[in-house]
Subunit: 333 residues, 2 copies
DNA sequence: TTGAAAGCGCTAACAG
DNA sequence: CTGTTAGCGCTTTCAA
């Protein structure tokens, strides 16, 4: 049987309250008893049951991170940032992956909420976040990360600046003379995709070029999906001269497919990828990427969650800027 | 204020026990009351407080995964596998990253243990796992994953077959005539490294070749570390004709460094990497890798944890076989 | 400086 | 079929 506070108290011949106080330093206890109790704790390797503590105090020092796709290097790096910061701040982190399934996301939040989690960092599967109001309206702390929607009014957000991301990538390509720029996105109806498309459109507008919906292609954020998207996109428009791919896995798939088509990068088609994945520089050709700082986004999100926990009115949207890492695949060097 | 079972009971004019029973289906309750209660639950969007439930039942339906390095694709994929299986089985997963710091690992396990976690899947920072006995001796379920030590006697283990991994990689290189094979490992004093070195030695022995400790180099499992390791290793032995690199990030660093040295792969130096990272096939040159199935290892580990929970005597060591994916970097095609 | 006791929200005998 | 009651292990008034 596991030793409890009661056991310690009995053996030390003090009350259970006294034990609690020496453990938490909540009251001053005679040095004598103090020592005795400490020794017993040592002896039995006693650690207070935090479930009981949680129940009593209604706080768990546990946060949850809910992501929509785990084996994506951007998400992974975000998780890394969140976990690191949580750990530094003495929190534990629950991790749930919803696999882009919205119903499961909703169920997850419900379960998490019932577990007296202190708060949730959510990278949602879709922009359809109405169900969140149920929780946010009772001041349950939620922060949106990476993806967001303006409908979540009172909810703070930490994301990359996706409009700028789309703008910068497109602008770079346009600047180098490309006029027909395809775009492969991973998921529809999410802010990351939508905002980047908006940025892309804005860049086109600055060049007095029309936007063509048909240059957009869904790639499902996988290697195979990226390959398939290239196939379908180039079949539809064989005059595309540049490609902006919104995710690392799809970028890899896209490059494979282009190699199969014997298309040279960047001579036949220029390419800009997204995210600073480790191998970008040794791929053939080295990939020009526009990057956002996932680990920083994660860390910041946790800090924001803490703010939200302490101040329910906190609702900033923090947008971190992107940067362009120019290598060979965009053809400008 | 949050609504509790008591509130529901009062409004439904039944006892709290009755409410509990309809929620859990533990007893048969008149349809009439049943409905009434259900409606109230719906109306107030009531969800039982699982912390209280946990305290009462002494089970949390929560497992923890403790890893030693998070932004490593192999570890990430393991986490993915564990999380997926946990979710399928109705468990939540706590994730902690120890960053290869052994003391923090020990502290983590202690904290987790006090949280009434149902069990822990641990990928340890070192082979120094004596502290675990404190927990395993009281039948607290722990399973070792990826890395292990034989000292953890009563603890089940799920790992790749690292001896075979080392053997196969070395054998492949030896078969193609290489005699001086360098090896870059990420961490010392862990079974993954040790066993692979043993396998490598065994392969050498079969070719009547001597083992030279000096061909081993530590690369710290990072891109920069991989690059540095190549530098140091080739400075020491400029006659090395093949390299076996035990981690994806180091492989990328190694290749970068070799390119900087204007060394051609595989002509000047052949290379075998580890792990099936997505970009391996589009890197220049495409990388021959020996792979273990991280997601499967993760899933299996969770299943084993469940076995351990239900049967404290369970203590198998499951070793999953590696496979070689031959591409250009090893020079045999 | 210490202890008694109430209670966090729930489950599970047990009794009726 | 339903309610009473005794806890799970801990914190925290309140009194002594």
């Amino acid at each position: 049987m596991k030793v409890t506070m009661k056991d310690i108290a009995k053996e030390a011949q003090v009350s259970i309250a006294t034990v609690s106080h020496v453990i938490n330093g909540t009251k001053h206890i005679t040095e004598n008893k103090q020592k005795k109790i400490m020794n017993l704790i040592q002896k039995y390797n006693y650690i207070p049951n935090s479930t009981a503590k949680n129940l009593r105090q209604k706080t768990t020092k546990t946060a949850a991170m809910v992501v929509s796709s785990l084996p994506d290097s951007f998400v992974t790096e975000m998780v890394y940032g969140v976990e690191e910061r949580a750990r530094e701040m003495g929190y534990n982190l629950l991790l749930v992956n919803t696999n882009e399934v919205k119903d499961y996301e909703e169920e997850t939040i419900s379960v998490l909420h019932s577990r007296m989690i202190d708060g949730i960092i959510l990278s949602p599967a879709s922009s359809d976040l109405e169900y969140l109001n149920k929780y946010t309206s009772e001041d349950f702390p939620v922060v949106l990360v990476n993806r967001y929607t303006d409908l979540a009014k009172n909810t703070p957000k930490v994301t990359g600046d996706n409009f700028q991301t789309g703008y910068d990538a497109a602008f770079h390509l346009l600047k180098h003379g490309h006029k027909k720029i395809g775009m492969i996105y991973g998921v529809s109806n999410v802010s990351t995709t939508d905002e980047r498309i908006k940025g892309y459109k804005e860049a086109l507008k600055n060049y007095n070029l029309p936007f063509n919906e048909s240059y957009m292609e869904l790639g499902h954020a996988t290697v195979a999906g990226g390959a398939a998207a290239v196939k379908s996109l180039l079949t539809r428009h064989n005059d595309i001269s540049a490609l902006f791919v919104l995710n690392d896995l799809m970028t890899i798939g896209a490059i494979s497919q282009m190699k199969e088509f014997l298309l040279k990068i960047p001579e036949d088609i220029a390419l800009i990828g997204f995210g600073d994945f480790a191998s970008a520089s040794i791929v053939d050709p080295p990939i020009t990427n526009i990057v956002q700082p996932p680990a920083t986004i994660g860390k910041t999100a946790f800090d924001v969650l803490l703010s939200k926990i302490h101040n329910p009115n906190y609702k900033k949207h923090i947008e971190l800027p992107p940067s362009l890492i120019v290598r060979k695949s965009c053809g400008c060097v």
